[in-house]
């Protein structure tokens, strides 16, 4: 087996045009002359439907063009329940993805020069795809088709998923599970027999009390939720925010509980204690629907507010008062399940505690709590059955994480690194739309895995870090330049929405479906992509639900009828929950079966050593992970991240606002770049905070390279959730460094 040493290549052979990117951008990004008053044409006459790909909320919108077909702006579709006609800043600024001059422009193939140095050379699509098809065939012959994997995030997953399944592999993983909402899905499945999926069926607009544990809505710009939260504020709902940081939403909350990091389970248990012991729980609901109440009641007896105070630093009367507030609002109360919940490794249990609280207050299936979502199924354009893979990622897990209901991206990584106890290691990755270097914790491990591969293909729109490790880089065009599968999402009522190209793909980039189909043809799997044109496929599918491509082009979003007639439980209705007991499991039989605590338990977590601080991270409303930091419109709003430091800490270290420092974590990893200090009261004295997605190391991202620091780089200590394999990322500590060794020496 020949091991390719995959040096990171800075995609330097990109066409020379890229060099002038900065200078040229100003002209191309602002098409036409500057506005003279009243000269804006009627852009509404020339608009095409799309749904947004800047994050995974997938708001439907319109792309507006001027008379000569130049894309000018993107707005929301009024009929779309995800956005109600209003996109978030990232969606509005999505236009910058299309105009970004740093985009990938043509397929690239890794070549080794005579001097042994690796570089990329530009290749034709034919060449690049031929090469991949040939390599995949070799790998199949040598190791078996199942020793390949797709790591994907975003719409392209549909096509590359079909491709790799048709090829014979079941390894399809997204970072939105084990690095994001996995523990939450497992916790809610264990409790209510249903996961939450996306968009979450939280009935925020009608709630009377919204409890946010971490969840930083307003910075987390998941559009529909932010909109509904604002409606709730209008209607006078109480917001309770539990966050060690004074988040934006904390500032809008009636109660802000500045909790000590990593102690949420203690708070949740003492809330249960109050709600149960004071008889504030929904007795009828619990009696009818719940399993294990008595066990829970006995179990929570020691968890008094006083007990929790010692752990969380939240005062007992505050705990009582907020418990009371929730009870008063019940059942129109939401203990928000959060979304990025992979924090400290006991995440499934923490979210279980949140689920149990919701159950006690009777909010599941109730107005102002959680509604019953509906999703429609649109028949897929027919294709042959996928072959059954010989084994999949789960076999590599040695019986662990049986409760995980989706594949783990980190698990695929583990299964790639050679160990003696596995008979099949993954040998090829297709990576689509996920910048694994910045997405997975512990970069060293990701690189180990990448170094063990025989083939890595990366499909991306930008020269993201991950592209530098690929054997072949395939440039996808942006969402504004392509057709994609219908958006079919759950909601209060089911909707479908259409994405169509607003412009021809720029440069030599291609849509994902085209890449997958062409590759499939070359791999002899063409029958899985039997349609001639994508329009034909969409039209066929739309006709199955009494619509058509013609219609969808005009309306963009179509509301379909609900299958279940009501979005809330009817009073006293008999309901069979999809759990072992058919009830809401306060006491989880499923967890017990697997040898885990059937009821959530608080375990103390490590505290920062002297001179170190919790590395806390989160979202900025105008950026999505690492994908938008180079977007000209959005970089204009925030072009670097800063590290939030409490004034007391700043004083101790002599740090000033705007001063640049390196961060070093508990494992001696020092950030590649310096980051500016923001001295602010909004962060606790035991933590620092930064926005995820900055500190890019690829110079080809000209706008964002070297701006700010990367939290991903500093997350080397991973607290794995034993229940479902989620990668807890909040167990890292950092300290300040004024210079690097290399600098000190020179």
């Amino acid at each position: 087996m020949s091991k390719t040493r995959r040096d990171f290549i800075k995609i330097s052979s990109l066409s020379a045009a890229g060099i002038f990117a900065g200078a040229k951008y100003l002209q191309s990004a602002i098409p036409g002359n500057a506005t003279k008053l009243g000269e804006i044409g009627n852009l509404n006459l020339n608009r095409t439907p799309t749904y947004c790909e800047v994050c995974f909320w997938k708001c439907a919108g319109w792309v507006h063009k001027n008379e000569d077909g130049t894309i000018k702006k993107i707005t929301g579709n009024d009929d779309d329940p995800n956005c109600n006609g209003r996109l978030c800043p990232r969606g509005t600024g999505g236009i910058g993805m299309y105009y970004d001059e740093d985009r990938l422009k043509t397929p690239l193939m890794r070549v080794t020069g005579k001097d042994g140095k690796q570089t990329y050379r530009e290749a034709s699509w034919d060449e690049a795809l031929d090469f991949i098809a040939k390599r995949m065939k070799e790998i199949k012959e040598k190791h078996g088709a199942e020793c390949t994997a797709l790591l994907t995030h975003g719409s392209g997953g549909h096509y590359f998923g079909s491709l790799i399944k048709a090829f014979g592999s079941g390894n399809v993983a997204a970072p939105s599970y084990a690095q994001c909402r996995g523990p939450r899905e497992v916790a809610f499945l264990a409790t209510f027999g249903e996961g939450l999926n996306s968009p979450e069926p939280t009935d925020i607009r009608d709630t009377r009390c919204l409890v946010l544990i971490g969840s930083h809505l307003g910075e987390n710009m998941h559009n529909g939720q932010v909109q509904e939260m604002s409606d709730a504020i209008d209607k006078g709902a109480t917001i309770i925010t539990v966050d060690p940081r004074f988040s934006t939403v904390a500032s809008k909350s009636k109660f802000w509980l500045p909790i000590k990091p990593a102690t949420d389970i203690a708070l949740l248990l003492s809330w249960m204690h109050e709600i149960i012991n004071n008889g504030w729980y929904d007795k009828k609901y619990i009696e009818k629907y719940a399993y294990g109440f008595e066990e829970l009641k006995d179990y929570i007896q020691p968890f008094t507010p006083e007990w929790a105070y010692g752990i969380t630093t939240i005062k007992p009367d505050q705990i009582r008062e907020t418990a009371r507030e929730m009870a008063n609002a019940a059942p129109a109360v939401i203990i928000h399940p959060g979304r990025h919940v992979t924090w400290y490794g006991d995440d499934t249990q923490r979210v279980r505690a949140m689920a149990i609280l919701n159950a006690l207050l009777g909010s599941w299936g109730r107005r102002g709590g959680f509604y019953i979502p509906d999703i429609t199924s649109v028949p897929k354009y027919p294709h042959p059955h996928f072959p059954e893979p010989a084994r999949d990622w789960r076999d590599a897990m040695g019986g662990k994480y049986k409760l995980a209901d989706l594949a783990l991206a980190s698990g695929v990584c583990d299964a790639t690194i050679p160990t003696p106890d596995l008979d099949c290691h993954i040998k090829a990755w297709i990576v689509n739309g996920t910048n694994l270097i910045m997405t997975l914790p512990d970069q060293r491990k990701t690189l180990d895995a990448i170094n063990s591969l025989e083939l890595m293909v990366v499909i991306d729109t930008m020269p993201a870090e991950i592209t530098g490790y690929a054997d072949v880089v395939l440039p996808e065009c942006t969402y504004l330049e392509r057709w994609d599968d219908l958006r079919i999402l759950q909601g209060r009522f089911p909707t479908i929405s259409l994405r169509m190209p607003a412009a021809q793909p720029k440069y030599n980039s291609k849509p994902g479906y085209w890449i997958a189909k062409e590759l499939a043809k070359k791999m002899g799997l063409g029958e899985y992509f039997a349609w001639n044109t994508f329009e034909e496929k969409l039209d066929w599918e739309l006709k199955q639900v009494n619509s058509s491509l013609e219609e969808m082009k005009k309306i963009g979003v179509k509301k379909l009828t609900r299958e279940y007639d009501d979005i809330y439980f009817n009073d006293g209705e008999d309901i069979e929950f999809n759990t072992n007991t058919g009830k809401i499991e306060l006491y989880s039989t499923a967890l017990e079966e697997e040898g885990f605590d059937p009821m959530p338990r608080y375990t103390p977590h490590q505290e920062p050593p002297e001179g170190f601080y919790h590395l806390n991270y989160g979202r900025a409303p105008m950026h999505t992970f690492s994908r938008t930091t180079n977007n000209p419109n959005l970089a204009d709003l925030m072009d670097e991240n800063v590290v939030w430091v409490n004034p007391k800490v700043a004083k101790e270290w002599g740090l000033e606002n705007g001063q640049e420092v390196y961060l070093e974590n508990q494992d001696g990893i020092i950030s590649d770049f310096k980051i500016k200090v923001r001295v602010t009261e909004r962060i606790r004295f035991d933590s620092v905070y930064m926005i995820h997605g900055f500190g890019h190391t690829n110079k080809k991202l000209t706008r964002t390279y070297g701006k700010g620091a990367s939290d991903s780089q500093l997350i080397t200590r991973v607290l794995t959730d034993p229940i479902m394999g989620g990668t807890g990322m909040r167990g890292n500590f950092v300290t300040f460094r004024f210079e690097k060794e290399s600098e000190a020496q020179s």
Binding site: M622, D636, L637, M638, D639, P647, V679, T680, E681, R682
Partner: protein
């Protein structure tokens, strides 16, 4: 702790992080305008008073530089404009409430007048000057004959110009530092003081020099008085103005202002001129240069510091 930040990355050039829309052009333009106004003021004043021959330096010699000062000033203003090709729009309308507008119009009037003035006095420098063309000779004769009337007109415009250069800044109440009624008189006085100094340089008669040295010392006295009052006014006013004054009282402009403007540009030349009156031998050029330097610096510093000062909200 109070933290006030702009979170949307606002970085409008010349506006953020603080206003820097006016660079050297405007203070230079104001300095030259003020100086020109001062010279023309003295020239026309002494003409009207019938003392042309006693004060030849003021009336006939110094004004020779005025057209140049004005043209350089206007050029500076022109270079400051960001939409230069639309310059002519200034002269399509008179907007009384806009100092910029009547300043532009005043300059439009006083520049040719100052040229005429220079023309009728050109023989002071070039006794053999010949206008060559009949028409020019006739014009020369005409204006020379009516020079007192001309002086009245010029006096009128030079006062307007002088005031204008003073109040351009103070018209902007958005900049707390400029938002004081003392700035107008201060700049006006400073312009006159600079003019007096220049006249000393151009004058050939000891008596005239002494006269203008006295005037200058008096003007500097007034300036110092105005400056003290200005700061007292600031400190007795709102928080915003107190903060504006702090720019000069411990803030970044403290040293430049007190050293360059007040000590080197006012007190020192006043002392030198005083010593000169006491018959000490001081090269005349030194106090003149110091006064001009002080007067220029005053406008530069007030211009830059004013753009730094802002309302708090």
């Amino acid at each position: 702790m109070r933290e006030e930040i702009i979170t949307s990355g606002r970085m409008n050039p010349h506006i953020d992080p603080h206003l820097a829309i006016w660079h050297w052009h405007i203070p230079l333009y104001l300095f030259l305008g003020g100086l020109a106004a001062g010279i023309m003021f003295f020239a026309s004043l002494y003409t009207i008073l019938g003392k042309e021959n006693k004060f030849r330096g003021a009336v006939k010699r110094a004004p020779i530089i005025v057209p140049f000062l004005l043209i350089i000033g206007l050029t500076a203003l022109f270079f400051d404009l960001k939409h230069k090709l639309y310059f002519w729009q200034l002269y399509t309308i008179i907007r009384i409430q806009s100092p910029m507008s009547w300043g532009a119009w005043t300059l439009m009037a006083i520049t040719p007048l100052s040229m005429v003035w220079v023309a009728i006095n050109i023989k002071e420098f070039f006794p053999k000057w010949d206008w060559k063309f009949f028409i020019l000779k006739e014009l020369d004769k005409f204006f020379t004959k009516y020079r007192v009337y001309l002086a009245w007109v010029i006096l009128y415009f030079s006062v307007i110009l002088g005031i204008y250069t003073g109040i351009l800044f103070s018209a902007f109440n958005a900049r707390p530092l400029w938002n004081t009624s003392i700035l107008g008189p201060l700049f006006l006085t400073s312009g006159l003081s600079a003019a007096a100094a220049v006249i000393i340089l151009f004058s050939k008669r000891q008596k005239e020099r002494i006269n203008f040295a006295k005037i200058d010392i008096m003007l500097i006295g007034i300036e110092l008085f105005l400056i003290i009052h200005m700061f007292m006014g600031f400190l007795a006013s709102t928080q915003v103005q107190i903060e504006a004054a702090q720019l000069f009282l411990g803030g970044p402009y403290t040293a430049p202002f007190w050293i360059f403007v007040v000590i080197i540009g006012m007190i020192l030349p006043a002392i030198l001129e005083f010593l000169e009156l006491r018959k000490f031998h001081i090269p005349a050029i030194i106090p003149v240069i110091l006064v001009l330097f002080g007067s220029l610096m005053l406008r530069f510093i007030i211009s830059y510091a004013g753009q730094l000062s802002r309302w708090l909200y």
